[in-house]
């Protein structure tokens, strides 16, 4: 059954926007953040207009409704991500989720002499926290390089890095190359070596059902805003064992059991890591996003998105002067195409495309080490999502050809 693109696009109010002096918006910056369907916006508006109250511990009607909606959101998301409410900790996004693992788990469970394995493909969010921790605690960081010929991690070096390591942190799908890593293999090998695994699923969760239980990772970090949800929310999925091993990170209200001026004791489970007034409207909006995506067969969606990326990659590869980064022939991955032209400056190109109504991103994509490996400091990047159409991809390619023809 083909996707009803007209109906899908009608779900996203922003897509009817005009830009660049009246042109249709063609939004191709989805790896940075996705647009929000009306149902997600409405869920939050409805909460604020009908049920807004602080959650937990209160008995009045609004507080009851707000608590129920907030905790139902946790259930919805836990189910969507293949786990239970006791394994889902709300965070402000992937970045905070990874920091929570670094500060809450690694900091109290790893010591000088321990080793953490990360890769050259990581987003800064999965590099910098480990560097800071390593510096503080004398932990060794082992870096798995990317094989820039084949656009994949060097799995031999990966395997060789494992012995004696305690934690392996790998991005599921690169936000620059759109390439997915062999996470099943990575998790299995890491566990065999006795290491825990953190998967950065910021780019994977929008494209695939994350089955946390089936996947077998110890930690998975996710952002809501990259999968039709609001800004300011995300989650860390963590096994019960790992949660039990974690020490408090942020502290304050809602995460305690008792507080005296001498000593405090802490709540159990996810609550222990959710200090202060929660991101209530955001959690409700995030769950509405999962509900929205649940209308679709994710494999079908992903097929559609990949089709656009593969088409675009193969078309623009043939434009003189253009280099495309990443191998788009593989069926995994996301809807990202990174490229550069050899004479039109990346920033000019982005502005010229913007002048045609095409929103694309330019820069280091918070992955400087990966770009360094390819010998560049920035790329142009288009990234597709469910509401993008083949017509948009074609128009993009056409305008790009025109620009290169004119200014190249």
């Amino acid at each position: 059954m083909a996707l009803d693109m007209k109906a899908i696009r009608a779900d996203f109010p922003i897509l009817s926007r005009k830009v660049a002096g009246g042109k249709d918006l063609v939004y191709l910056d989805n790896a940075a953040t996705t647009q929000k369907p009306q149902s997600v916006i409405d869920a939050m508006t409805h909460y604020y207009e009908r049920s807004n109250a602080n959650v937990h511990r209160a008995v009045h009607t609004l507080a009851t409704e707000a608590t129920e909606q907030y905790e139902n959101a946790r259930d919805t998301l836990a189910a969507w991500f293949g786990t239970t409410r006791d394994n889902l900790i709300f965070t402000s996004g992937t970045t905070e989720a990874i920091n929570l693992v670094a500060w809450g788990w690694a900091r109290s469970n790893l010591n000088a002499g321990d080793a953490i394995v990360i890769t050259e493909m990581e987003h800064h969010a999965d590099i910098v926290p480990w560097q800071l921790l390593a510096e503080e605690k004398g932990i060794e960081i082992r870096v798995v390089p990317i094989d820039t010929e084949r656009d994949i991690l060097d799995m031999d070096i990966f395997s060789a890095s494992l012995p004696g390591s305690s934690l392996v942190c790998v991005v599921h799908t690169s936000n620059v190359l759109g390439v997915a890593n062999p996470v099943a293999d990575i998790i299995a090998q890491s566990h065999d070596a006795g290491a825990k695994v953190l998967i950065d699923a910021a780019q994977a969760a929008p494209h695939h059902r994350i089955d946390f239980t089936g996947m077998g990772a110890d930690f998975v970090a996710i952002s809501g805003h990259k999968m039709c949800g609001p800004t300011g929310i995300g989650c860390l999925l963590a096994t019960t064992e790992s949660i039990e091993e974690m020490e408090p990170f942020m502290s304050g209200g809602d995460m305690i059991e008792t507080v005296t001026m001498e000593k405090s004791t802490f709540a159990k489970g996810p609550q222990k890591f959710e200090a202060g007034t929660p991101k209530i409207a955001e959690a409700i909006g995030f769950a509405a996003a999962a509900d929205y995506l649940s209308n679709f067969d994710m494999d079908e969606l992903h097929g559609h998105i990949r089709g656009l990326a593969m088409y675009t990659a193969s078309e623009i590869k043939s434009v003189p002067g253009i280099t495309v980064y990443g191998d788009h022939s593989v069926s995994e991955g996301s809807g990202v195409v990174s490229f550069l032209h050899d004479s039109v400056h990346a920033e000019d190109l982005a502005r010229f495309m913007d002048a045609g109504g095409f929103a694309m991103r330019t820069g280091h994509h918070c992955a400087q080490p990966l770009l360094n490996a390819y010998g560049v400091t920035s790329t142009n990047r288009v990234s597709f999502y469910l509401y993008n159409t083949m017509e948009e991809a074609e128009a993009f390619v056409e305008h790009l050809r025109y620009i290169i023809g004119k200014f190249g």
Binding site: V55, R57, V59, T64, E68, E71
Partner: protein, 139 residues
Amino acid sequence: MTWPQALQEAIEQFADVFDPMERYEMLFEWASDVNELPIEEWNDANRIHGCQSQAHVECHMEDGMFYMRGGADAQIVQGLMAITCLAVNGRPPEEVVAIEPTFVDEMGLKASLTPSRSNGFLNMFKRVQDEAGLLTEGA
């Protein structure tokens, strides 16, 4: 689910009441003469944890059937316990274990439950079912 006669009557009577204040008053009427656990019998062992108020429950078998008594310092919790007695008392423990606590909904008392899932009525009900489970095994 079909409820015991007495609970069924209560549910029907509640169904006609739309004002929550009236509902509370009705709850206290129904609660006044059922199975209260006197305060002398409250102890750490029968205390239900995770309630804002103090709540205690005692369960036992009589002639092969399950019975509970409940006591709480908050009147509404006490009332909900009494209604729970109507739902579970005099049944085989296997049945008690299988009951869904939807009668509270049907009586329009849901707003009276403590909102946090980890608290209040559901904790109490789960405790009652756990005890019924133990009594089943014992049987």
